[in-house]
Amino acid sequence: MATLEAHAPHAAQPRGTRSIIWDYMTTVDHKKIGILYFLTSLFFLVVGGLEAILIRIQLMRPGNEFVSAEVYNQLFTMHGTTMVFLMGMPIAVAFFNYIVPLQIGARDVAFPRLNALSYWIFLFGGIFINASFLIGAAPNGGWFGYANLTSEQFSPGLNIDFWVLGLQALGAASIMGGVNFVTTIINLRAPGMRLMRMPLFTWMAFITSFLIITALPVFAVALFLVTFDRFWGTVFFQVSAGGDPVLWQHLFWMFGHPEVYILILPAFGIISEVIPTFSRKPLFGYAVMVYSAALIALIGWGAWAHHMFATGLGPIADAFFTVSTMIIAIPTGVKIFNWIATMWGGKIRFTTAMLFAVGAVALFTVGGVSGVMHATSPHDLQQTDTYFVVAHFHYVLIGGTVMGVFAGIFYWFPKVTGRFMNETLGKWFFWLYFVGMNLTFFPMHFAGLLGMPRRIFTYAPELNLATINFVTSLGAFLQVPAVLLLVYNLWISVRRGAPAGTNPWNAATLEWATASPPAEHNFNTTPVVHSREPLWVEPAQVEEAARGPMEHIHLPPPSYWPILTAAGVVATMALFMTNLWWAPLIGLAWTMIGAINWAFEPTH
């Protein structure tokens, strides 16, 4: 039996860098995996941001020749791909990993080794896609890779191969993660934590995971079709054989629209934790917040073709998707009103986390409003594929998701490290980022409506868009020191931040009952909850469970099979590119060896 006692000597050893690395490579602890997810996503945030900066240098003035068309097309493709698949999704998963088991009073996720596998596939897949830069053949078909531009005929290089194979691996990792969290949340909640007592963040993780499980497979199928076309000569998207490229658009957006909610709902969850905590009031309209998110996710499945109003689907399809899209505005609006109502009559403390949460609500509203403008489909014909759309989704995904995530970083950092982040630096970071973000994306609305299509590596001077683009670029440059401030703040706060204690914000949810940082086993005994705000309603009882006398605890031992299996999965993808029929079989065999050893590995 691997018991806590058995682990104790191991934990007490002096820990060199090597042993820390080995510990993280073999860990199955949801908290360590969460930290790995977080650091990796942060790294890719910087990579994707750097790509954005190069894009903005190129567009700073008309006819600029800073990068070639070829390089530019790779840059914007990888910027989108990185920010969605290597930053936006995994950074949410980082929070799911660290926070959800703590919020529901669990020891770990339901499948700890699967969790590790998800992470390692994500890491290797991300490295694999970006390795394409080393041979000058990064993906160049746009992040939504419209067929038939991605066919062998029109994209003969390795660029699109990297994209389809890499995303296939990343998608698989996401689906495994989704399954893991749905199972965890259904099965591992503490006694008394009925579904309608779950913290809002856990609810959002739950709904997001359902979306991941249902939407990512659609994308996987679409990617398979392109992969088959490119490698084995099938003709799914080849027009001369009767294939219809518009099919790709349907499949992609059938995934792509739920994907938007996969990216935003976790941030909604974070905001719904931060605002009540710093307003000293419970969330206003908890039940409606849950239902509205579920409704958004559900209707989100019937709105995909609003990305395709210009495709030419005909008036009936356009009308249907116009109506379904507009309907989503209603539950979304309700969420915004409920957040404001939560603050109303409260006692608001403006920590950096709260600034980011309120900023996220405001900026998300700006993005939501331009979303309704897109939904006005006749005029979307002027907006779509222009910088107006670029402005819209950056307000949603940076204003909403990224700002929400920043709120989450400042909010949970004391729990993860036992130390506060520096609030002075934090506030500088907030204002710098807030100004930079708006300076970047607000002018884009006008660039779009004044005739600037997206994805153009150059534009003619007579379009008179130079000033707008110059201002936009300045805004983008302003975000650089902001993000550097965040990284610096994380770096010094881990080492020298003020000690935080278990519940520094006087928050209500279960993760704040246990030590900061939490012990490997999270809670000394499983807490029993009787309310939505256990630490406000019944603090003595849950704190006793979390930090009182310890029960006999079994934790799964570390395992190196997840990382080896993940390497096999990504190697299979990489070996496909050799175009030798037997090469992927090596990777497949490697994966099988990993999986079999994993299956027979003793866990007791």
């Binding site: 356009d318 505005a329 006692k347 006005t376 006749p378 409506l449 005739g451 379009l463």
Partner: protein, 381 residues
């Protein structure tokens, strides 16, 4: 409710129309029924959503200012919700959504109606990275610059020869994707996408491809010359007029030395297609080189050649740009283009003087020959 909205719309239109001159691709100054209608729908949405935005942002501001923590602020009342308020702020947005939806859905059907009987159908064919325009009614083909008559319904019937493009000339209204046609079983109708509009003002309107379509997506621009019906008929006549033979100068044969730059004759505006000016040996030489080189394998000039692959060059001299927006249409730029298209436009699918493209060998034209061809092409007005 209607009156303030209408006033707001009117002022918006005034404000925005002022921008048209400065911004050739503005969406705010439409010159078609289609563009005007969708802007009206947009105005409805715009004012409603701006109203909501102002309300929400003000509520946030009031909340954060009024309820920020002070040393003497009391412990807040623990409110969990309020069913009445929550129902209210569900129903009010729902009503606003309906207010937006009614004109929106009606405009969807209005803009995608069937074309009328006497509409002028223009077939638009997207290519990497240029536009082909066919006028079946007049049996005409042109490229990159499309003439359209004002006052007559225009029906664009569009498809692509390669990947997905999108036809967008903002002042003519919204964009529409230009999709490749999947091969159909025999007897089945071919897919096209459509745009329908009537232009009310003559003028030259700029646009460009709006769906990412590969290397030179940014350089796939469109010019539309909207002219009065009689001027349109004159253009048709120009297009169909047999090329006038430029006469060699006295005692001069094909091998005349190239004259100094600037020798290009000014057009007389008589509507003749070839070198409307004085017969000129450089232009004559250019035509000879064009006809006897590989140019004719791809390019059509009505009455001169019939290459089916590249842009039709009839009346090329009237276009503002060479290479679908790559460079302004001047003698020097056309020379640069013929010498090495890929250097001017990434991925351009045309061989240069020394650089082959695909299965096409380099043209091998000398600088003098290139100059002559450029002079000839720019003279085609």
């Amino acid at each position: 409710m209607r009156a303030p909205l209408a006033a707001a719309r009117a002022s918006a239109v005034l404000l925005l129309a002022a921008c048209a001159g400065e911004y050739p691709q503005t969406t705010f100054a439409p010159v078609t029924d289609f563009g005007v209608l969708i802007n009206e729908v947009f105005a409805t949405t715009l004012w409603w959503t701006m109203g909501i935005l102002v309300v929400v942002l003000s509520m946030i501001l009031v909340a954060v200012i009024r309820f920020r923590e002070t040393p003497d602020s009391p412990e807040p009342k623990q409110v969990h919700g309020n069913v009445k308020i929550e129902i209210a702020w569900t129903i009010v947005p729902a009503i606003i959504v309906v207010m937006i939806l009614v004109p929106t859905v009606s405009a969807i059907f209005e803009t995608q109606r069937r074309p009328s009987e006497d509409a002028l159908t223009i077939e638009v064919i997207g290519h990497q990275w240029w536009w082909e325009f066919r006028y079946p009614e007049y049996d005409l083909v042109t490229a990159n610059l499309a003439y359209m008559p004002t006052g007559r319904e225009i029906h664009l019937q569009m498809h692509s020869a390669d990947v997905i493009h999108s036809f967008w000339v903002p002042r003519l209204g919204g964009k529409r994707d230009v999709n490749p046609r999947p091969r159909q079983a025999e007897g089945e109708a071919q897919h096209s996408t459509h745009l329908l509009f009537t232009i009310s003002e003559p003028g030259r309107y700029a646009g460009q491809c709006a769906e990412f379509c590969g290397d030179s997506h940014a350089i796939m621009r469109i010019e539309v010359e909207a002219v009065a019906p009689d001027a349109f008929e004159a253009w048709v006549a120009d297009m169909k007029a047999p090329p006038r033979e430029p006469l060699p100068l006295e005692g001069d044969t094909a091998a005349a030395p190239a004259p100094a730059p600037g020798a290009l004759p000014a057009p007389t505006g008589t509507g003749q297609r070839v070198s409307a000016g004085r017969p000129d040996s450089l232009i004559f030489e250019g035509r000879r080189v064009f006809s006897s080189s590989t140019c004719v394998a791809c390019h059509t000039i009505e009455g001169v050649s019939s290459g089916p692959l590249g842009p039709n060059l009839t009346l090329f001299g009237r276009r503002l740009t060479v290479g679908a927006g790559a460079l302004p249409n001047t003698l020097e730029n056309v020379e640069a283009w013929i010498r090495d298209p890929v250097a001017v436009k990434p991925g351009a699918q045309m061989p240069g003087a020394e650089r082959p493209w695909g299965a096409f060998p380099a043209t091998g034209l000398s600088d003098a020959e290139i100059r002559a061809v450029a002079a000839y092409l720019t003279s085609l007005k």
